[in-house]
């Protein structure tokens, strides 16, 4: 009973991480339309070819397509034909009075419903108010299947959300612990706390490196298409959050170098605790202030660095929050192990 009381959070961490891995690698992506050609419409008759992902169209499917603008149906598609499991063709007749806006096509089948990427109406002769049309939409999908949202640009890489983002959360928690133990050390001058602060920095750095690597891979495969927005497109872009991550890594690598260049244990502890506190507070300032004055590629940015603006849907929330908790618990678990190892090493050195 005592063991359960003491170690339940470790078991929780394992369960949450197994759940995270299982969910994010086994659950399929929701069906979606990835491209439409031609991507801009002209007046009169248009035959548009839609290419989907995970759609599994079959001739038995009942498929409806309609052009929408801000959730209002404008034009219904006719002659929907299934070409193969991921491609359909539909015909739209564009009248000369349509709001000249960016339009979407909504696609309904009896299994799912999704949006196409933006279709741009090439020109409009008469700028008219929106008149909604009524399309035949019976037999809609009423059961929402369990799947991971399929977003433009992100595609399958959205699964990385459960790994990349929690790395930073865990790093911040571990580094806050390190900061806390440095303060504790300066209050008590007990070398025990200094050892915890040191190990926390090492583990924080590990998570920072993992966050950089997962983020770098993610950036390479999603942002590199945005070449019109950013001059560099590759493993690294000049983004405020990336700079924050790089600075954090540099600060704590410097902390390690500072420790290594001091000899005497008490002096080492005192000087590095002072630097840890000084650097941590200024790093927090950086993370709080700079996103407010510069824009970022990351979601939920452009004025607000706070969490909560990530456009997560309910399925992602269902696994994202457990993933964050699981990774944080794992980090704390690693810290407690490293702390015990360093205590043993210390006692052995003394003998």
């Amino acid at each position: 009973m005592k063991t359960v009381k003491k170690h339940w959070w470790k078991a929780l961490s394992v369960i949450l991480l197994v759940y995270t891995f299982g969910f994010s690698f086994l659950v399929p992506l929701s069906p979606s339309i990835k491209s439409a050609s031609p991507s801009s419409l002209k007046l009169g008759e248009n035959n548009v070819l839609f290419t989907g992902y995970n759609t599994n169209f079959s001739p038995q499917d009942e498929i409806h397509v309609a052009i929408e603008f801000e959730k209002q149906t404008l034009i219904c598609g006719t002659n929907v034909t299934v070409l193969n499991e991921n491609q359909i063709q539909a015909r739209f007749i564009i009248p000369d009075s349509l709001p000249s806006k960016v339009l979407h096509v909504r696609l309904h089948t009896n299994r799912f419903s999704c949006f196409s990427p933006e279709l741009i109406k090439a020109f409009s002769i008469i700028e008219s108010p929106i008149e909604s049309a009524q399309c035949a939409t019976h037999n809609l999908a009423d059961v929402v299947p369990l799947d991971i949202p399929n977003r433009l640009q992100l595609n399958e890489t959205i699964r990385n959300l459960m790994f990349h983002v929690p790395m930073w959360f865990t790093m911040m928690v571990i580094l806050t612990l390190s900061f806390w133990y440095s303060i504790k050390y300066l209050n008590t001058f007990d070398l025990k706390y200094d050892r915890i602060a040191r190990e926390a920095v090492n583990i924080g750095l590990l998570f920072a490196v993992l966050g950089l690597v997962t983020g770098s891979i993610w950036a390479k495969f999603t942002w590199s298409e945005h070449t019109d927005l950013f001059t560099s497109s590759g493993w690294w872009v000049n983004d405020v959050k990336l700079n924050g991550a790089a600075i954090t890594t540099l600060i704590y690598l410097a902390y390690r170098i500072l420790r290594n260049s001091l000899q005497e244990a008490n002096q080492k502890a005192k000087v590095s605790a002072v630097y840890n506190i000084f650097a941590f507070v200024l790093m927090l300032v950086f993370i709080m202030i700079l996103p407010r004055i510069t824009d970022s590629l990351h979601p939920g940015n452009g004025g607000n660095p706070a969490f909560g603006k990530y456009d997560l849907d309910n399925t992602l929330r269902m696994v994202f929050y457990p993933a964050v908790l699981g990774w944080i618990l794992l980090g704390v678990w690693m810290l407690s192990l490293k702390k015990r190892i360093s205590t043993i090493e210390n006692t052995l050195d003394d003998e």
Binding site: L186, N243, I247, L250, I251, A254, I257, L258, S261, L262, Q267, K270, V271, A273, V274, Y275, I277, F278, A279, V281, L282, M283, V285, F286, I289, L290, R292, I293
Partner: protein, 222 residues
């Protein structure tokens, strides 16, 4: 008590500086020759943002050089003597104020030399008072951070190398803010537009000084 100690300390630093004139002149020569090397490589910069960034990078390196010695020049006997005489909080405040005055002098000097050697056509719109406010706030945060970190670095053997490694990552927020702020001033911005830069930079400065004030006694008690 506190302010008389402070005044005496600043006077002491000043007289020390006057005695070792070679140090100040070496820093001035460092600034002039750096700018001269830059002017040979650039001659004229058409982009004002590059002109501005180059100016701040030169300031960063010259201030790092100038402030690196602020705790090094004191050998351990004298440190022990100072420790018995004054409060460490006074000492760090005195050092910060002294280094601030020194860096403002150096920055103004570098601005004059930089303006002479490296021309930029886009500088006609410059809002000079705002630009100097940016330089003042920026060099305050540079000099106070560098003072505190040089106190940390002085405990190691490799002072100047460690100082750059420790200080540069911490300095990035203030450097970035200062560069954006002075860019705004160069492009003819007004004080209303610079509101958030003034607030953020002043907050950072205040934070750095409070942190140094709280943390320095732990370093000094060695």
């Amino acid at each position: 008590m506190f302010h008389t100690q402070l005044l005496h300390l600043i006077k002491h630093e000043l007289s020390l500086e006057m005695k070792q004139k070679h140090f100040l002149s070496s820093i001035i020569l460092y600034i002039v020759s750096t700018i001269f090397v830059c002017s040979l490589s650039f001659t004229s910069i058409s982009e004002t943002s590059i002109w501005n960034a180059l100016f701040w990078i030169i300031i960063l390196f010259s201030l790092t050089n100038a402030i690196s010695k602020s705790f090094l020049s004191e050998n351990s006997d004298k440190q022990l003597f100072l420790y018995t005489l004054i409060n460490p909080k006074v000492l760090i405040l005195g050092k910060i104020i002294y280094n601030l005055v020194l860096s403002i002098l150096l920055v103004v000097l570098s601005f004059i030399v930089f303006n002479i050697f490296i021309q930029s056509d886009g500088l006609t719109d410059m809002n000079y008072p705002l630009f100097f406010l940016a330089v003042l706030l920026g060099s305050t945060s540079l000099s106070s951070t560098l003072t505190m970190v040089s106190a940390i670095a002085s405990k190691t053997n490799n002072n100047i190398g460690i100082l750059s490694i420790l200080a540069f990552p911490i300095l990035i927020p203030s450097i970035l803010l200062s560069i954006q702020f002075s860019n705004l001033a160069i492009n003819g911005g007004t004080t209303d537009m610079a509101g958030q830069f003034i607030v953020f930079l002043s907050l950072i400065n205040l934070l750095i000084i409070i942190l140094s004030f709280l943390l320095f006694p732990y370093l000094w008690r060695e």
